[in-house]
């Protein structure tokens, strides 16, 4: 058997050729015969009763297909966790941009005119837009108290720590909404016929989520709904749950018209109407000894979920579990809640709650350091989780992780100590100030707790007539390398050439449900199942005598061809079984939250220009321990890409809300970093194999999202000696803070050399 020849090397991307030649077919590149174009009429108020819908003059309405809530064959909900989100608003709207009416027409140019000609009268209801407004319960907009979900995590004896503390450090930290901004907007094509049922093709991450949603919406059995993923131009979580909505819309129009229907959003609609990262507010109150050791603390973690539940309980869960960071908390109480507001529901975005709570704890560590009189480095050293210790949810760290060593390496590579000294001197004068900051963090891979067990993912591997082997999974490719890595794993497992393995299109008519493509689980969880299923193929062939124990790729191909010729193609299935050492209590929210954690230390160097108050990141060192790196180019690409999004999250990307609607829903005004804004990003991997993942891999897709914000803001504080605890941090915010600080104090904390007006 070959040794790490394919796994561990950067083989060509399976779908790469199509991508570099422009042949890759995304959903808007496809048409079906007789196809109509669909569009959505959306609410213009954040909350209100729908009084009247008028279809105005000047439009040949008879040429249009019109769908409203009453046309829904099944139940008017997008099935996900809680059935509270209507597919089409029926009598009441709870957020701006909420879908109310659907239209379809053969000429896509007619749709904007038709939408303009529809006027909707509302009886407005008072709306709620912030966590504070929601939790005050002055206006109840959802359930009994506007609360989608709460969690309570308790460990040790929190109430007892305050008396023993030398210091009690408090802080409040906030993060804003962030738009995923995949370059390909959401799109779907649906077709319906009474025999086949509904088929949808689209840009999506989770075909089986859509499958489940369409069954309920269209009142169809499982075998009469088929969901096919086509080439998807970026997702990042933004196409995890939202596609069920747009698929539902396309399906309803297809059912009503009997013709295929394509719905493609333009950028303005996509930004304003679809999900974004949950805004958050975290409050820390921590008991610390004079040696800088955390005795315990209370953490309140709140996220803004928007108008309907969607995935808020799960985002809240991950944020809650990560709220303690990579530190040892002997005692902790974490109270978490997801609140309802009248904005479009927030949803999955790379990191999924962890970037929010990790930002808070990493900023808080800086403040603890200042209060205690230790450096940011020392405070972390003294509190890092050690093997054998337990996390905030009482999960024992079993792997031989050495966070101090990661920290040391990151400090060395980034030249942290000498830069910090040098900047401190150079900052005495000049029109800019430099700073360097560190963030240490962890990221759990796979679904939380019993999640993977509940998913019960299934993977098939098929032996084909031409002697190749085909992987069948519902895991989707959207740039992160799913197809490539899963084929690598199968090829390596079977000792084949990489080209001997293909992967099926993610089509629910063909592939089993291997769970959603989220939570950094694809390589670790699904990859492991691919391994098992592949071994099943080998076993069948060797048991039958068709194949010797030791063979070359050519011999395998021949054996497979012969076997299939004699017996037909066959599949080997593998189903997820929870490792016996992973226990989780859903009620107490305690136990083994994740099968594996990846660990990281990031170091950011920044310059703050004192004439324009803008921050530029000059260098970012990203050091992470991720188990085994299966494909170096893809892995590095994931880290760099995630860091770029993280830099955007920190310094550039601000959603401007007015009356619950995004005002800057265009690329001109929602600012994503360009190539000119990004620093050199230096990526380093430490490898420490993970027993649960394929070939020792852990998940890495989301990890890089957690580090940039705290490391950059820590660096800005280092540069200016001024505290910023909210992101995004724009030059205007820095300016305002400097102006107030300069007026209200002089001395070591004022930013010398800055003129306010």
């Amino acid at each position: 058997m070959k040794n790490d020849c394919i796994v561990g090397t950067s083989v060509p991307r399976k779908e790469g050729r199509d991508k570099v030649t422009g042949r890759a077919q995304y959903i808007d590149d496809m048409t079906l015969p007789n196809m109509l174009y669909g569009a959505t009429v959306r609410s213009r108020v954040p909350r209100g009763k729908i009084k009247k819908i008028t279809f105005g003059s000047g439009i040949a309405w008879n040429e249009f297909v019109v769908v409203s809530a009453k046309d829904i064959p099944g139940r008017n909900y997008i099935a996900l966790i809680v059935d509270d989100q209507p597919c089409l608003a029926d009598g009441i709207v709870n957020h701006s941009e909420e879908p109310i009416v659907l239209l379809a027409h053969p000429d896509r140019h007619m749709l904007p005119k038709a939408i303009d000609a529809i006027s909707i009268e509302y009886d407005p209801l008072p709306a709620v837009f912030t966590i504070e407004e929601s939790e005050s319960s002055a206006q109840i907009i959802w359930g009994k108290n506007n609360t989608f979900k709460t969690y309570l995590v308790e460990k040790g004896d929190v109430d007892g720590v305050w008396g023993k503390a030398d210091y009690i450090v408090e802080g409040e930290y906030r993060t804003g909404a962030q738009e995923q901004l995949y370059i390909e907007n959401n799109g779907m094509i649906a077709s319906y016929d009474p025999e086949q049922g509904v088929t949808v093709w689209g840009s999506l991450q989770c075909p089986y989520y859509i499958h489940k949603a369409l069954m309920a919406l269209c009142d169809l059995p499982a075998d009469k709904v088929r969901v096919v993923q086509v080439e998807t131009g970026g997702a990042f979580g933004g196409k995890e749950e939202y596609p069920s909505m747009i698929a539902g819309h396309a399906a309803l129009l297809a059912i009503k018209s009997g013709r295929p229907v394509k719905i493609i959003y333009d950028r303005m609609e996509d930004m304003a109407a679809t999900t974004k990262r949950h805004p958050s507010r975290t409050r820390h109150r921590t008991a610390v000894t004079k040696d800088g050791k955390i005795l315990g603390g209370e953490i309140e973690f709140a996220i803004d979920g928007g108008a309907y539940t969607t995935l808020s309980p799960v985002v809240l869960s991950r944020g809650t579990i990560h709220a303690g960071g990579p530190y040892h908390w002997p005692s902790v109480r974490i109270r978490a809640k997801a609140m309802a507001t009248n904005v479009p529901p927030h949803g999955a975005f790379r990191g999924f709650g962890a970037p929010q709570s990790l930002f808070a704890v990493e900023r808080h560590m800086e403040h603890i350091a200042q209060v205690v009189g230790l450096s940011p480095i020392e405070i972390r050293r003294r509190n890092f989780l050690q093997p054998g210790q337990t996390t905030t949810t009482d999960q024992t760290i079993r792997e031989a992780i050495d966070l101090e060593k990661l920290l040391d390496r990151a400090l060395e590579v980034s030249d942290y100590h000498s830069k910090k000294q040098r900047f401190s001197k150079e900052n005495q004068m000049g029109t800019s100030k430099k700073g360097i900051g560190v963030a240490a963090f962890l990221h759990g891979a796979g679904f939380t707790g019993s999640g993977e067990r509940n998913l019960g993912s299934v993977v098939d591997v098929e032996a084909c007539a031409d002697g190749t082997v085909r992987v069948l999974v519902s895991s989707t490719e959207f740039g992160q390398g799913t197809k490539t890595v899963l084929c690598q794993i199968a090829a390596e497992t079977l000792g084949l050439d990489y080209d001997d393995v293909t992967i099926a299109q993610a089509d629910t008519g063909e592939v089993p449900n291997s769970g959603p493509t989220v939570a950094s689980r694809t390589v670790m969880v699904v990859g492991k199942l691919v391994q098992s299923a592949a071994l099943g193929i080998k076993q069948t062939l060797t048991t039958s005598g068709a194949l010797e124990r030791s063979y070359s790729p050519a011999e395998f191909r021949t054996a497979c061809q012969n076997y299939v010729a004699a017996h037909g193609t066959f599949r080997s299935s593998a189903r997820f079984e929870a490792p016996s050492d992973v226990f989780w209590d859903d009620e107490k929210y305690r136990g083994e939250a994740y099968a594996a954690f990846a660990w990281a230390v990031y170091v950011a160097e920044v310059t703050v220009d004192l004439s324009t108050y803008s921050v530029s990141v000059n260098d970012l060192v990203a050091l992470q321990e991720v188990g085994k790196v299966l494909h170096p180019v893809l892995a590095r690409g994931q880290i760099v890409g995630g860091i770029a999004q993280g830099i955007g999250y920190t310094l550039y990307e601000k959603v401007i809300w007015q009356n619950g609607r995004m005002q800057n829903s265009q690329m001109t005004n929602y600012i994503m970093p360009t190539s000119a804004d990004l620093p050199p990003i230096r990526v380093f991997f430490e490898e420490m194999g993970n027993i649960h993942g394929a070939f020792g891999a852990k998940g890495i897709g989301e990890l890089p999202m957690d580090g940039p914000a705290p490391s950059i803001i820590n660096a800005v504080e280092d540069a200016l000696q001024i505290r910023f605890d909210a992101i995004p941090l724009l030059p205007e915010d820095i300016f305002e803070k400097l102006a107030t600080e300069t007026i209200s104090k002089s001395g070591p904390h004022s930013a010398g050399g800055v003129q306010s007006q």
């Binding site: 950067s10 060509p12 991307r13 779908e15 790469g16 050729r17 199509d18 991508k19 570099v20 030649t21 422009g22 042949r23 890759a24 995304y26 808007d28 590149d29 003059s57 000047g58 040949a60 040429e63 000429d107 140019h109 007619m110 005119k113 995923q180 901004l181 995949y182 370059i183 390909e184 907007n185 080439e231 998807t232 131009g233 970026g234 997702a235 990042f236 333009d266 950028r267 959207f478 740039g479 992160q480 180019v633 893809l634 590095r636 690409g637 760099v640 890409g641 995630g642 860091i643 770029a644 265009q666 690329m667 001109t668 994503m672 360009t674 190539s675 000119a676 990004l678 050199p680 990003i681």
Partner: protein
């Protein structure tokens, strides 16, 4: 306006231009966007619509040798022009240096920005065969990528420059 607005209306016109080396003629409204004419009339879907406002560059094509955002070009202005799209960049099945480099260096992840990005890089290398990293950064600054963080794209372009120098 009291009459019903149905499709049809102002006159279409016939327009010819060179596309990927071949003369093409279309019959379209003069204000159709070049992007839509390519994608719909001519079934060349390599150019993509990411933003509709000339910010993302995923609709980039070459018009008379200059990189342009095809979402901002009314088709009438492309009359008699020489248009090159991603489909015209490589000869048949053979990939060019840029395409190979993008494959080797991870320059394409989800691939949606890739056609525009490769055209922008091609445009850059035509004018500046030995670009510095800053030249590459500037040359590609009008093409947004959300997946890669640009680093591997720059490496691919630098590599392609090297490879082109040898061929």
């Amino acid at each position: 306006m009291t009459t019903n607005i149905s499709s049809g209306g102002r006159a279409k016109c016939e327009l010819s231009f060179t596309l990927n080396g071949e003369m093409r003629t279309v019959r379209v409204h003069p204000m159709e966007r070049l992007l839509d004419v390519l994608r719909q009339e001519l079934a060349l879907t390599g150019a993509k619509e990411g933003c509709g406002e000339g910010e993302c560059g995923s609709c980039s094509v070459l018009m008379d040798g200059a990189l342009v955002n095809s979402c901002l070009v009314p088709i009438l202005q492309a009359k008699s022009a020489n248009i090159v799209t991603i489909e015209g960049l490589a000869a048949g099945e053979q990939l060019n240096c840029l395409q190979e480099a993008f494959l080797d260096f991870g320059g394409a992840q989800c691939g949606i920005c890739t056609p525009g990005m490769i055209l922008a890089a091609s445009h850059l290398l035509q004018r500046n065969p030995q670009p510095s990293i800053d030249d590459i950064r500037e040359g590609l600054s009008g093409n947004l990528c959300r997946c890669t963080g640009y680093v591997q794209i720059f490496e691919a372009v630098a590599r392609a420059a090297h490879c082109r120098a040898r061929t």
